[in-house]
């Protein structure tokens, strides 16, 4: 099968993730969309690794997974404490950082 198709899939997943980040207000959903974008990148890395015939992309995919796991830990903690103080998981409610 032509590996370029996998790239199209990765682009599609990335776009869905990005769109979700932009249009959804619930922090949990936004978070999941970020995960979706990360996994789209991972998929692209793996495809490029296959296309170029070396393992660099696959190794980087592992790194990304580690970073994503760390991010999930920190991110969920932030969301939980945000929910505790504001009783809402909407990202638009946390808009105090402005002039």
């Amino acid at each position: 099968m032509n590996p370029v198709n996998y790239l199209y899939l990765a682009a599609l997943l990335f776009t869905i993730g990005a769109t979700g980040v932009l249009i959804r207000r619930n922090a949990i959903v936004v978070f999941m969309c970020v995960e979706l974008m990360l996994n789209a990148c991972n998929l692209a890395f793996v495809v490029f690794s296959r296309m170029h015939g070396n393992l660099d992309g696959q190794i980087i995919a592992f790194f990304t997974m580690v970073v994503a796991a760390a991010e999930v830990v920190v991110g969920l903690a932030i969301i939980v404490s945000l929910f505790r103080t504001r009783h809402s998981a909407s990202v638009d409610d946390a808009s105090l950082m402005k002039l």
Partner: protein
């Protein structure tokens, strides 16, 4: 013997320190301390003079190195004194006339409760003036130059309770500052040109320096001389300087300080010799001032201001002679010395008259004083004869020599300068005869003063008459003494150099012409002020007379051109500053502020809008990369 040079300056400096720091305890003896220390300096000068006379003409330069003042890399300023024939002449003039005037002031300032301070200032002046003429480099000379300026300021404004005196002092100080700026620029130019400002290196390397540089230095030195010696265009302060006590006018504003400019030009002769353009400027300044001062002197009714105009004019003669180069240097100094005698004598005489006339200065309110003040009359009269160049008196020899030298310049210039000098001689004869006739001859025109006291003219005390007599003797014999066997010429020649010009007309003819001018001037004055009674209230006079009474409109000119011009300049500069400079600065600030105001709206706190800009930015980067690859 070299070690004595510093003592010349130290004596009056000590006097100034003691008198000014000593306070009221010295009030009773202060004036005698001042006179004693000034006389000490004079005696030291005589000792040094005798020492110089004992040497060969070529070896008459003594130097004394005291310490290195500012040693910074290549910049080396020493406190070194140089005593040669030129400075010796000045030392004797300054300390001699200075001591006489100290003595005179003892009587003149008798009723002034600040007499001690007056003598302190006089001693300070002597020290600064001696430093000026004894310095071996231009920087040290500059110290003395500023010192005499300070002393002049303090003494013009000595009666500071009078607003006119305070203003006159400030005026003198400010106008002098313009000249001083010239001197400081000249010193800087010397340092960049010669790498030094000591007389030795500067004056011996003029041959291998570009003429443009030398002309610039010469013109700056001329500016300095104009300020200190009250030459056109910086002459306006001298008339007002007469607000000071009369001994000050005699010593500082007639005999010594105002001649410092002539000293500077003659001392820097090597520079001027190598820069003919600067030299020409010097002669022009001298010639213009010569006539300018004389015309002012003709119209003034204030006896001291008439004499001040005369001083300006006589210094014009000296500057003219100094501008003639080696033909004239010696005669400039010779006229300076004889002028020191007779003009100091004339001022002291004027002071004596004022002393007897309740400090009245208006000559229209004098008259017939010759019988009341015989000694003043005779000494003033001898000074008068000397200044107009009466045969065989001092002025006759020195002025005649300058007129001859002016003709000897040769060519059209020679004729013009000689003609101006002759004309000046005629005007000198006119205005001095006028002063003489109005003061000592004619009817009594005395008026009671503001308190209603009738004046009772009387002869002044001995402390005042003795200096007048000595100066009168000098006015009579100095010229003849200097002239005999060309003594003065041989004395100064090793320092200044001398060359005979070739005069288009013979010396006898010139002397004859001078005498004719003298007779014409005296004759006109006699016809106007001797034959007819002098009106007490000044007549309206011609346009020229009215202009001359206002110092030929010099103050008006300064006011309109410099003061008003300066005001307009500053106003327009302020306008430019407010509109253009501030406009740019404030505009930039307002622009940045407005832009920031817009930009900060981007910071709305919504995480999703930040995400939009992030994605947008990433998309732009990708697009740009693709575009670059495609190209």
């Amino acid at each position: 013997m070299d070690n004595l040079i510093a003592l010349l300056i130290a004596a009056p400096l000590l006097g100034a320190a003691v008198l000014l720091v000593g306070g009221r305890r010295l009030d009773a003896v202060g004036h005698w301390i001042g006179t004693l220390l000034s006389t000490t300096s004079f005696v030291l000068g005589l000792v040094l003079f005798a020492g110089l006379l004992g040497k060969d003409a070529e070896n008459r330069t003594l130097t004394q190195h005291l310490w290195t003042w500012i040693p910074v890399g290549g910049f080396q300023a020493d406190v070194t004194f140089r005593l040669d024939q030129l400075s010796m002449t000045f030392v004797l003039l300054i300390t001699g006339v200075g001591s006489l005037i100290h003595l005179y002031s003892v009587g003149y300032m008798e009723h002034d409760e600040r007499r001690r301070r007056f003598f302190g200032y006089l001693n300070l002046f002597l020290a600064a003036m001696l430093l000026l003429v004894l310095a071996d480099n231009y920087l040290l000379l500059y110290v003395g130059w500023e010192g005499v300026g300070l002393a002049s300021y303090l003494l013009i404004g000595f009666w500071q309770h009078k607003p006119s005196a305070a203003t006159a002092a400030k005026k003198a100080f400010l106008v002098n500052r313009v000249g001083d700026m010239g001197l400081s620029i000249a010193i800087m130019l010397m340092f960049t040109t010669f790498g030094s400002f000591a007389f030795g290196p500067v004056l011996s390397h003029t041959g291998d320096t570009s003429e443009g540089r030398l002309t610039a230095i010469g013109l700056m030195l001329l500016l300095a001389a104009c300020g200190k010696s009250a030459q056109v265009p910086l002459q306006s302060w001298l008339g007002d300087a007469m607000e000071g006590p009369t001994p000050v006018s005699a010593l500082i504003h007639a005999a010594t300080m105002v001649t410092a400019g002539v000293y500077l030009i003659v001392r820097s002769g090597a520079i001027f010799n190598a820069a003919p353009d600067a030299q020409l400027a010097v002669t022009v300044v001298g010639a213009v001032t010569l006539i300018f001062g004389a015309i002012v002197g003709c119209a003034k009714d204030d006896i001291k201001k008439a004499l001040a105009g005369s001083t300006m004019s006589q210094i014009g003669y000296m500057v003219l002679a100094a501008g003639l180069g080696p033909i004239g240097y010696v005669f400039a100094i010779m006229h300076l010395v004889t002028h020191g005698f007779f003009k100091a004598g004339l001022f002291l005489g004027a002071g004596s008259v004022m002393h007897g006339m309740n400090d009245e200065v208006d000559m229209r309110k004098y008259g017939a004083l010759r019988t009341y003040m015989p000694i003043t009359f005779v000494t003033f009269g001898l000074g008068y004869l000397a200044i107009i160049g009466f045969p065989f008196l001092s002025g006759f020899y020195s002025k005649d020599a300058i007129i001859e030298a002016a003709f000897a310049k040769g060519g059209t210039q020679g004729w013009i300068l000689g003609g101006v000098a002759l004309l000046g001689a005629a005007i000198t004869a006119f205005y001095m005869t006028r002063v003489m006739l109005m003061t000592f001859f004619g009817e009594k025109r005395w008026q009671p003063d503001a308190q209603g006291h009738e004046p009772h003219p009387h002869e002044s005390p001995k402390t005042m008459t003795i200096p007048m007599i000595v100066l009168a003797v000098g006015s009579v014999f100095a010229g003849f003494f200097f002239h005999l066997g060309d003594r003065f010429l041989h004395w100064l020649e090793p320092v200044t150099g001398h060359s005979e010009g070739d005069s288009p007309i013979g010396a006898t003819t010139i002397t004859g012409a001078t005498l004719v001018c003298l007779v014409v001037g005296v004759g006109i004055a006699w016809a106007r002020y001797g034959r007819k009674p002098v009106p007490v209230v000044a007549p309206r006079g011609s346009l020229l007379t009215r202009a001359a009474r206002r110092d030929l409109l010099q103050d008006d000119f300064n006011h309109v051109v410099l003061v008003r011009g300066g005001e307009h300049l500053t106003r327009s500069l302020v306008y430019v500053d407010h509109t253009l400079v501030d406009g740019v600065v404030n505009g930039t600030a307002a622009g940045v502020g407005g832009l920031s105001g817009r930009l900060r709206r981007v910071q709305n706190g919504f995480a999703r809008s930040y995400a939009v800009s992030m994605f947008g930015g990433a998309a732009l980067l990708v697009a740009a990369t693709l575009l670059m690859r495609a190209v």
